[in-house]
């Protein structure tokens, strides 16, 4: 055989130690962030950004790994948020129980949606998820006595009143989600999931039941989306349609994930925080700010289809 000259042992380690080290270095910095003299308002923005980061990571597991574009991220988030809000506003359960119930309900709703939808081929899964958001929205409006309809539903309890504590709760949620999702993505399960996403036929012929893996990925994504959704409800004090059950919010999540870098998990998390902070920074520009965000997303899609973190990876493999 004529292999190209057997060069030095791979320079192209897929998981360079540095990335992981960098991530661990970032954690203490993130924990310390609210103590660096930021205003409570700014801390609040970062708190929202962290919830967004969790949504984007959950989305990336589905799209980047399983290859299924979920246009209905807010279906999962909305189920988590509204479950928590309804339980709490009716005085059925204390906040922490509501949060757990929210994530569990999100998984259940996710399974009910995904079981039939994942059997569809091509772009149909994405379309079904999109329709699911619309249906959930209409159901909430239809049962407005219980759900608050278009006005939204207020939660009487709070987890904490302190902005710093709320930030740290959101951060804990984001870090735990990131660790869990990255672990799964790098495990044999994640490897199979990528094979299923990229070449389903070949994956089947290798003996993997593809629906099973996609469903598991969907549940996983649903759990963290529901968790973050429920936590965010308590942080905001209300569950409302335009925040939690809105296709355009779903699009924002997609943009965050793509800017950050598909199939990197951490990239979308950075993208999520970045997008929320950017949106806030440009609030004075009003409608123009949405246009700017959209243009940035377009530029990234056209010129950096692998996103910002994907760019780093690419640079490294080019070495």
């Amino acid at each position: 055989m004529n292999h190209p000259a057997t060069a030095a042992p791979s320079i192209l380690r897929r998981l360079p130690f540095s990335t992981t080290a960098l991530a661990w270095l970032a954690v203490p910095c993130l924990i310390a962030l609210p103590f660096l003299g930021l205003s409570e308002y700014a801390i609040g923005i970062f708190t929202l950004g962290l919830f967004f980061a969790v949504y984007a990571m959950g989305w990336d597991l589905l799209f980047g790994y399983a290859g299924e574009p979920n246009f209905g991220a807010t279906f999962l988030i909305g189920v988590g948020a509204y479950t928590a809000a309804m339980l709490n506003s009716n005085g059925i359960a204390p906040p922490w129980i509501c949060v757990i119930a929210g994530s569990v309900m999100s998984v259940i709703a996710g399974v009910l949606l995904a079981l039939p939808a994942l059997r569809l081929r091509g772009p149909y899964f994405g379309l079904v998820t999109l329709v699911a958001v619309l249906i959930l929205r209409q159901l909430i409006i239809l049962f407005s006595h219980q759900t608050g309809g278009e006005i939204g539903i207020a939660v009487p309890d709070v987890l904490t009143l302190s902005a710093v504590a709320n930030y740290e709760i959101a951060l804990a949620c984001a870090i735990v989600s990131a660790i869990m999702i990255v672990l799964v993505a790098r495990s044999p399960f994640g490897l199979i999931l990528q094979a299923v996403g990229q070449d389903p036929l070949n994956a089947q012929a290798m003996g993997f039941s593809i629906v099973k893996y996609k469903l598991a990925a969907f549940c996983y994504s649903a759990f963290f989306s529901g968790l973050a959704g429920a936590l965010m409800t308590f942080y905001m004090g209300t569950a409302s349609l335009n925040v939690f059950v809105d296709a355009s919010v779903g699009v924002q999540i997609i943009i965050a994930a793509i800017i950050g870098g598909r199939r990197t998990i951490i990239g979308p998390a950075i993208g999520g925080v970045f997008l929320v902070v950017l949106g806030e920074y440009m609030r004075p520009f009003g409608r123009l700010s949405e246009l700017i965000v959209a243009v940035i997303a377009l530029l990234v899609l056209l010129f950096l289809p692998n996103g910002l973190l994907g760019l780093l990876k690419l640079k490294r493999s080019a070495r």
Binding site: M1, L191, M206, G207
Partner: protein
């Protein structure tokens, strides 16, 4: 018997892809599945693997009836398949790609055990990929990528391996190396079914040969007997006896198409290697060769549908830069898959072909096509999808004629057509020649058909022209290579 498939049937819409095929494979046996393109070989493999649903018949592995099982379950019961086109995971190393294939179908498996890594390395050793285990697939040579696919196939510990075109795109040396590997698989106690167009490569390797044509099995015997079989020679290899139809009119008219040093690469595979040839005015030129030799690629390169280097001259001038301009200048491609608009009527398909023509020209052109093909006139209002295969080919040619070609490139005019329909296409080619309006350039793997019509023939093998000359010399000079 390791595998016993009985009376398999598969239909895709109006096409009977596999009809009534029986196939058995014994322990430690290599079975070669041959047949022209479109004869149902790959479909048969897909049926065995459970990728397509079986319409009728049964499949057994040993004593187990696996008919109707999903592919992942079949894969776990001793059968594994190497696909002709499959991509490894590009962000994972070669070793990790093999690890993937070794994983159990379980979601509760969150780490790669050392034992698994050891097995992956052992498999890579078997296919001679040890040195590149930690590289990314993108850095591998084409032949090594095929080895990786073979390694993945081996990982499942299969009793029976289905190899779809394992030799496609490999050089002669690599084909030999691969054949040795496949023999080793047999020595380890596995059985193999391999599909290939490279009959000669398969011939030496296989214990038994099964020939297919139009979805049916036509021979199943020792390789030498199958190759000697009259029917096999006729449908696949060409009978070789009828190279007489073309008039010996060896005029040397002006060249209409001159191709020089045309080279096309698909990634790492060289599909066309410095091809030079000439097609002459008013003649029928044929390019022949096995599937995968590069015939379609040549046509695509001439029409600038794929990137190429080298030069193409049409009617004395360098050919235009983009596909649409080339078509307008008079070089029209009638593609292999016909690409008809199935939900449009015959007339609408023709109208699209002539959409750039002024009304008067258009009428005259429609008349020309409908006189040439009376069947199309009869079926003007019928949807193209509902036509028979031969009629669809006529429509595809008719639509191409609407564009007023000076040179018509027809890719595989007889592909997938029953022998009876061949006469219809033969007649078409002769009518076109007689019309004197255009020159024809056909790509064919049916050599008999090419011999019957072409004035001159070019033989393509693995991207290179290995013989060019007038038709009457073909049988004597290279007939033994291909017939």
């Amino acid at each position: 018997m390791l595998l016993k498939a009985t009376d398999l049937h598969k239909r895709f819409g109006g096409l009977q892809a596999v009809s009534g095929v029986n196939l058995t494979v014994g322990e430690r046996e290599i079975v070669g599945l041959i047949g022209p393109n479109g004869s149902g070989k790959s479909t048969l493999l897909s049926l065995l693997m459970g990728i397509h649903r079986i319409d009728g018949g049964t499949v057994r592995i040993g004593e187990t009836d696996i008919t109707g099982w999903p592919p992942h379950r079949i894969a776990r019961s001793g059968m594994s398949m190497m696909f002709q086109h499959s991509r490894p995971l590009l962000q994972q190393t070669v070793l990790e790609n093999v690890l993937l294939a070794l994983l159990p179908d379980s979601m509760l498996n969150f780490r790669f055990s050392e034992e698994l890594r050891g097995r992956a390395r052992a498999i890579l050793g078997q296919v001679h990929l040890t040195e590149v285990a930690d590289r990314l697939p993108g850095e591998l040579a084409f032949a090594d990528l095929r080895r990786l696919e073979l390694a993945k196939t081996l990982a499942a510990h299969p009793k029976l391996m289905l190899l779809d075109e394992p030799f496609a795109g490999l050089s002669a040396t690599e084909v030999r190396e691969f054949s040795t590997l496949i023999r080793t698989m047999r020595d380890e106690g596995r059985s193999v079914i391999l599909v290939d167009h490279n009959v000669k490569g398969v011939h030496a390797l296989v214990d038994r040969m099964v020939a297919m044509s139009s979805g049916a099995k036509i021979a199943d015997d020792r390789p030498d007997r199958v190759l000697a079989d009259e029917q096999v020679r006729r449908v696949y290899l060409g009978s070789g006896a009828s190279g007489t139809a073309v008039a010996a009119s060896q005029t040397s008219s002006a060249p209409i198409l001159e191709v020089a040093d045309l080279t096309v690469r698909y990634g790492k595979a060289c599909a066309l290697d410095k091809v030079s040839l000439t097609a002459r005015q008013g003649e029928v030129t044929a390019i022949v060769g096995l599937n995968g030799a590069g015939k379609s690629t040549l046509f695509h390169a001439v029409c600038r549908l794929v990137r190429s280097t080298g030069s193409v001259h049409f009617d004395g001038h360098a050919i235009a830069d983009n596909t649409a301009q080339i078509a307008r200048s008079g070089v029209v491609l009638c593609p292999e898959k016909r690409e008809l608009f199935g939900d449009m009527t015959v007339f609408e398909n023709l109208r699209i072909g002539g959409s750039h023509l002024p009304v008067a020209d258009f009428r005259q052109r429609i008349d020309f096509v409908e006189t040439l093909f009376p069947r199309l006139a009869e079926r003007r209002k019928q949807n193209a999808r509902t036509l028979s295969g031969g009629e669809q080919q006529q429509l595809a040619i008719g639509r191409a004629l609407m564009m007023k070609p000076k040179l018509l490139l027809i890719d595989e005019p007889t592909l997938g057509l029953a022998p009876v329909v061949l006469d219809l296409i033969s007649e078409t080619i002769e009518k076109l020649r007689a019309s004197g309006e255009l020159s024809l350039f056909i790509a064919e793997q049916n050599i008999t058909f090419a011999l019957r019509h072409a004035n001159s023939i070019h033989l393509l093998e693995q991207g290179q022209i290995v013989w060019s000359g007038p038709t009457h010399r073909f049988v004597d000079e290279v007939g033994h290579k291909v017939l």
